[in-house]
Every structure is written in C-alpha cells, then in structure tokens.
Symmetry: C2
Subunit: 331 residues, 2 copies
Amino acid sequence: MKSGEILLLTAREIQSLLTLDECIGAVERAFRAYGEGRAVPPAVLSMHTGGGGCHVKAGLRELNRSYFAAKVNGNFPENSSRFGLPTIQGVIVLCNAGNGTPLAVMDSRDITALRTAAATAVAAKFLARQDSQTITVCGCGNQGRMQLKALSRVCRLETVFAYDRDGQQALRFSQDLTSELKISVRTVSDLSAAVRQSDICVTCTTSRQPLLGLDDVSPGTFIAAVGADSPQKQELHASLMAGSKIVCDILEQCAVMGDLHHALEAGVVTRANVYAELGEVVAGKKPGRESQQEITIFDSTGMALQDVAAAAVLYEKALRHGSGVRLNFAA
Amino acid sequence: MKSGEILLLTAREIQSLLTLDECIGAVERAFRAYGEGRAVPPAVLSMHTGGGGCHVKAGLRELNRSYFAAKVNGNFPENSSRFGLPTIQGVIVLCNAGNGTPLAVMDSRDITALRTAAATAVAAKFLARQDSQTITVCGCGNQGRMQLKALSRVCRLETVFAYDRDGQQALRFSQDLTSELKISVRTVSDLSAAVRQSDICVTCTTSRQPLLGLDDVSPGTFIAAVGADSPQKQELHASLMAGSKIVCDILEQCAVMGDLHHALEAGVVTRANVYAELGEVVAGKKPGRESQQEITIFDSTGMALQDVAAAAVLYEKALRHGSGVRLNFAA
C-alpha cells in the first residue's frame, strides 16, 4: 500500500475472501490473548436517536503489526418494515495502531456475522461435549445460517433441528443448509422437544421473552445464547441460567445486555456465579466442560476484539490477493 | 445516491469544496443548537497504545435530515520524526442518523482544521471587541494559518503579528498569508510585546508550558486558546485564566484537557468561575463580551458536534456538485 492509500472492501469481496476457518482461528487467538491479559478490553460508544441508535465498538489487537478497528454501526429495528433496509448497517475502519494510519474501510455486515458465529464455534470447542452430533438452531435468519456453518467446522454434526417462529424461514433454512452442508436439517415446530434431544442448541432470535427454560434442556447440553445483545432482549429463562455453567464473552457487557442481565435481575444468579469469561477458558486458566452432565451456556453479546481480529486477517489476506479498491484519501 | 453507495471524499476534494464561510456558518448553527438544548452532547472513546492513541469522537446533528458522524483519528506525536507521517491521521464516517445508513467516508484532516478555526471565528464574533483589528498568531503551523483565515472572515484585521519558536516557520507564514489575505503580516520575536498591542490573540502550539500570563495581555483582548487538547498541553498561565472571562466549548472536556484544566489544578479557578459554554452565548442565553475592558478567553478543545456539522454541509455540497467517488459497500 502506498502512503495515504486506504483499502476499500465491499461485502462481495469480503464474502469471497474471509473463510469461517480463518475467522474461527483469528477469533480464538483473540480470546486467548484476552484471557492471558495480552489484549486491552474493547471500548463502546453509543448515541441514541428516535428509532434506534448509532454505535461504535473499538478494539486493539497485536499481531504481526498492531491494529485498531472501530466498527461504526447503525441499529434501527424498524428499518426493514419502514424503509426496506437492513436493521444493522455500517463500516469497520481498520488502522495501524502503531502510527494511527487508516488502512482499510470495510462493510461491517459479513465480518460481524462471521466473527459472531466464530465465537460460538470457539466456545463449542471448549464447552460442548466432544461427541456432540445433534443440534437445534433456534432462529433461522442469516445469523442462524452462519452459526450452523461455523459449528459444523468444529463438531461432527449429524442431525440439525431448525426452529423458527416463521415456518417458511425454517423451511428455506432446512433446504439451503441440507444442500450446502450435506447433513440432515429438519424443521421442527416443537422447540422444547427438539432441544431435549440435542447436544447443542444455538439461540439467535430477536426475542424479548425467554424461549428456553431448565426443563427444555437435557443434561450435558451446550447452549450458545447469541440473540440477546440489548437490555430488552432475552432468550434463556433465568432458571436455565441458574442451573448451568455460564461463560460470558465479556462479563460486564453480558450483565447489561446478555441473557445474564435477566438472570441477575431475577436475583437467581450473581456475578460470582458466572464461571468464566471465554478468554479465560481458551487461555487454559479455567477448564471448559468438566463433566458429561453439566449444562454449559455461552452468553454472547459480541465484542470489538472479535471485529478487529477478523478485520485484520481479512485485510492481510486482501493485500496478498490484491483485492479491493485503493483510494488515496490524504492526497 | 443509490442504496448501499457510500461517497468517498479525499483531502483534495474536501479542500476544493468546503469553504471557511460555509464551515463557520455550520459550526455557529451547531453551537447555537447545542446551547438551545437541541443537540445531544457528543461522545468520545479513546484507546491508548505505545506511542500515542486512537480516538473516536461522535456527534449527532439534526439538519434537513439527521446526521451521525464518527471521527476515527490516530494521534501519534512522534510520527513526524519517526515515520515522516502526520501526527494526526484519520477519517470521518458520516451516517444517516434516521436509519443508520453510512453515507460518506472522508479524510479527517482538513475538516478538523476548518471546524477548529471556524469555532474560533464564531467565538470571536461574540467575545472579541467589534473594533478589533490587530491580532497575534502564536504558533504558525497549519492550524495557525487556518485560524487567521477564519478570523479574517469575521473581523476587519489590519495588522497581524506572527510568532513561532521556529523563526523560519513564522517567516513563511508571514510571506504566504500577506499575499493570500492582502494584509500586513509581520514576524515578531517578542511574543509578550506583540500580544500587549493586540486586540485578539490565538495560541495554537503544542506547548506544555504556559506561553502567556496576565501581564502579557492588555484589557479588552480576546484570546482563543486552541492548542491544548490533552491533559499535558498548556498555553495560558493560570493567572491569566483567573483574570479573564472564560468561555469553554465543552466545560467538562476543557476541565480535563483544556487550559482550564491547569487553572483548576492550580486552584485559582473553579468550575463555577467559568462564565459559559460557547453554545450558551451563541444561543443568546448569556451575553458575550460585556465591556471594552474585559479579557475574554475561548478555551477550545474541539468537539464532535463541529465535525458532524462540517461533514454534513460538505456531504450535501459534494452531492450537489457530483464530487467524490461512490462505492457500493453493501453489494
């Protein structure tokens, strides 16, 4: 790159460049660095407007060089119905954290989807039973698709139950993923029955009421609670949280906007009941799953450390491949 | 703009589009809105690294449409000597704050320079004597040039004293600005003597020691203290702050990183001694200058409200002129 040049990466370029395996690797290394105390906590800034809000999530990552990334995202829940626009839109600005030079501007959608799914895959490596082969995906939108793809990279999945409030969405999910992953993906209408038969369950909905309680889950299950990323959202009943080993991405963020938030509010769990942050487990400071019987939960709210990790590997790969448009902004 | 398209504006395009008069107008309207309680306080996020830091300043502005801007800047003081790079580099991401859609990515350098100078010009309209014609510019770098140009838009300047620790820099400043502004710009080596003869003084250095005390300033002077934008930097002696009418851009930010910071630390000034924020004066909630004798100080630390105001007028003008490159990031 010439001095002053910024690499611009569109969604299409990002889709063709960034693989799930690379993203899982980058995110796992980032969580390990965080758990080892080698990564500073990410920072968040939010400004609320009428129908939503604009948010900046920023993180630093020391790799071959030092990277800073700021993800600038709008989150407007009524965008689809009001404007035919995605709920979340935005860009990631990647900078050299050694001298502040902006390196790249990237569409944020696919990086967010991949890094979120990658965190679940990393969590599954440490928190799911080794012999896990049956999974329920609750919420068959784009994030559900990515979650299943990511988990299929780290688990030998044989049976997938697809549940969605919108049966047509579950059907499309089943058709597409059966063909893409070459495994059996079946739609289900009884979520509870499906989860009770599953080794893994991923919830990635926009629900504001709990979808799963302790009675819906068999011993030994790993649950990735991905959907709740604001104080209003909830997918797991407080009783399920209380009866499980809870691992957070960031404790303080989960306490505000994860499923942990509601369990704390219900008074059935305290911060001291949270077993670990994922980084501590990946870094080997605490064991992950310790028995075949325990229910493990990964409370995923999403952190900028994942964004900067994914953006950095993407940037380096784009440079190697000569991808993207370069524009000299400083000229 | 087509859906998904982001407008990319380079430094050269920004220089040719954004005029000081437009920027002064936009910044004045932004301060007025803030003073009237129609603008939310801007937000800041910082992450420090070895030789500097990466910062995000974010603001909202309601105009014909609602805008959100996040300025992502690196600030690395040793960049020039170590890498031959500017100290501050970065981009501004402008979004539609009604739905979160990213609208533009712009180089941040010239927008920052113009909006900073524009704030001084706005402050001068309310805090300098109407008959001000003699000015000292202390610090003859790029910001000093822009400050003088902006002040020449709102004051009938006749004599300019140019002071810089680096005499060659002052000489170039004098030569260039004499020819550009068609007024007398003279280099001086005795800062104190020059300021005592001046109606206005702008300090825009990187000094960490006070350059001006109460004895250096005549009654009736307006001082714009622009350089201090971090806790270590200082240009005005606490005694000068204590003897003057202090107007801040944002009180709480000045208390941490402006010249106010050092006056508070010295114990000669309290928050209650600060006369106003500039927005209150522009909105007419408090009078500006109230006598020919008082010394007025504008403590300028820079706020995202100025960035979003300048970026929004720039964006709308670029659309009208068909300037910049458009790239569909979401495709």
